[in-house]
Amino acid sequence: MKKGTLKQILLITDGCSNKGEDPAVTAALCQQQGITVNVIGIVDDDQTEEPEGLREVEDIALSGGGISQLVYKQALSQTVQTVTKQSMTQTLQGFVNKELKQILGEDQSLEEIEPEKRGEIMEVVEDMGETCDLEVLVLTDTSASMHDKLPTVKEALIDLSISLNARIGRNRFCIFNFPGKRKAIEKVLDWSPKLDSISTIFPKLTSGGITPTGPAIREAMYQFGKKGLLKNLRDEDEPGVEEAGY
């Protein structure tokens, strides 16, 4: 099977959108273009019940073909990784299921196969997850209420890059904030293989009450085809592509 590149948008937010088009619509558009949208909703420590605004979190992920999770900020690191990895597996499994249907007929999916054979198929999915290339665009909500959560977000992202860079496949990350000063989103970090460099540039804070999640997702989608990506690909190929084990 040919090695592909998985594309994901990881939206980190703490509330609902209040400006521009419906985020569920732009997320659906992403999915149509092969980009999965995952959403993490950060919950305040004193919130005990599921807040109304965060229902949107689930809707966006559903129409973006991804995974959503509500989380207290203390558990953010672990959740960011679980969501990213689970979503990769889900996407890859989707591919495998499609292949299975072609081979075995319409009503065959992984769950309909007996447990013994499922194992062999999952091994293939795991192999793909380990070796495929991955592009993650992190889209962080930096509206005023996120202010005290940003240091945790930063740590979680560095941790995500440690985890993903242990894989055999290659990774590329970039970070955008929304709302931007003039545009819907603002670039914090261009496509790069690691996130260590964000310590100094993050967070660039824009305060203000608006949360244009929908337009932000649309803008984020366009970042996947950009030239910077090609340039980065070439840059990376030069110094030490083969990393020795020790």
Partner: protein, 310 residues
């Protein structure tokens, strides 16, 4: 993901019968044994035999775990994980399904409780046992990954430490599948999350630090310094400090190498601590003197207090 909101927790009442869709086996649930990252483990009974049953709605993660258990069984002459007895699905109602697998029920005591009840002299024994198992596992091309106190149990008669959850076991050279922050060298800034023997050796030291710091500790501004200080502060681990420090800093390429050093340290410590010997090794330093002084002080105390008796 303890603090995250779980979408659904499976809670099965004792007495419930779980009926396998594919193999038609029936298991009676007795009680809950534990909760992992992706599933719940119950004690169950079938034909008078007790076993442990792990059930989850994440079919794919369960399949991955079953794959690991099967691979571990192929490692000859070893008992690295619990043995696998059955794999099946349970249809709770049409359209609602869970995956489960049944494994050998390992009955024993948590590591920390065993050590606090039976004494700290067991600590190095368990370290050696675990290093043996790790060596076998690594030789077979696997890294344990999620190595932590909760995943260990001490079987009694004779005491032997065993792994009970192998869910994080990863093929060497890949990205560690599952980990817990306190035991993860990446979290402490002391290495990558690539599956290699040194990853497990770091976690092994953390397992034993956790025994002496049951509430664990924060990493602080300088995680490496914090860690080394905490290790230095544990009196019971002092004899093996050098070896444990080397493991924390990624200095061992293999489990066997660490075991060799640890064995030497244990022998040296045993030599030093044995009371009432005439010949002292030349490098034993001042500790025999201190020991002698202590004995004299104690004798003096008893002598004086005996004078005060009527």
């Amino acid at each position: 993901m303890n603090q995250a909101w779980k979408k659904q927790d499976i809670n099965i009442k004792p007495g419930t019968i779980i009926h396998g869709k594919w193999h038609q086996n029936r298991y009676v649930i007795k009680r809950k044994l534990g909760q992992g990252a992706i599933g719940t483990v119950y004690l169950c009974e079938r034909n008078g035999q007790y076993s442990a049953l792990k059930i989850s709605e994440y079919a794919t993660s369960m399949t991955v775990e079953v794959n690991v258990l099967k691979s571990l069984e192929k490692v000859q002459g070893s008992s690295l994980g619990p043995s696998l007895l059955d794999v099946d699905d349970w249809e709770i109602s049409p359209g609602s399904k869970c995956s489960f697998y049944v494994m050998e029920y390992l009955q024993g005591e948590p590591l920390s409780r065993f050590i606090s009840r039976h004494g700290h002299e067991w600590t190095p024994i368990f370290m050696l046992q675990l290093l043996d198992d790790l060596e076998q596992l690594h030789q077979a091309g696997w890294v344990f990954g999620d190595f932590k106190s909760e995943n260990l149990i001490v079987l009694l008669n004779p005491p032997k430490v065993r792994w009970i959850d192998v869910g994080g076991t990863t093929q060497t050279g890949r990205a560690i599948k599952e980990y817990t922050e306190f035991y993860d060298r990446g979290y402490w800034g002391l290495g990558t999350r690539k599956a290699e023997p040194s990853y497990d050796l770091f976690a092994l030291v953390m397992v034993f630090l956790n025994i002496y710091y049951p509430k664990q500790f924060e990493k602080g501004a300088n995680p490496k310094a914090t860690l080394l200080k905490k290790l230095n502060d544990v009196r019971q681990l002092r004899g093996y400090r050098e070896c444990l420090t080397k493991a924390l800093l990624g200095g061992y390429r293999s489990s066997a190498e660490m075991r060799h050093d640890l064995m030497n340290a244990i022998n040296a410590a045993g030599h030093r601590d044995r009371p009432g010997r005439r010949r002292r090794p030349p490098n034993a330093g001042t500790s025999p003197l201190a020991e002698g002084g202590g004995i004299i002080l104690a004798a003096l105390f008893y002598y004086l207090s005996s004078l005060m008796l009527p």
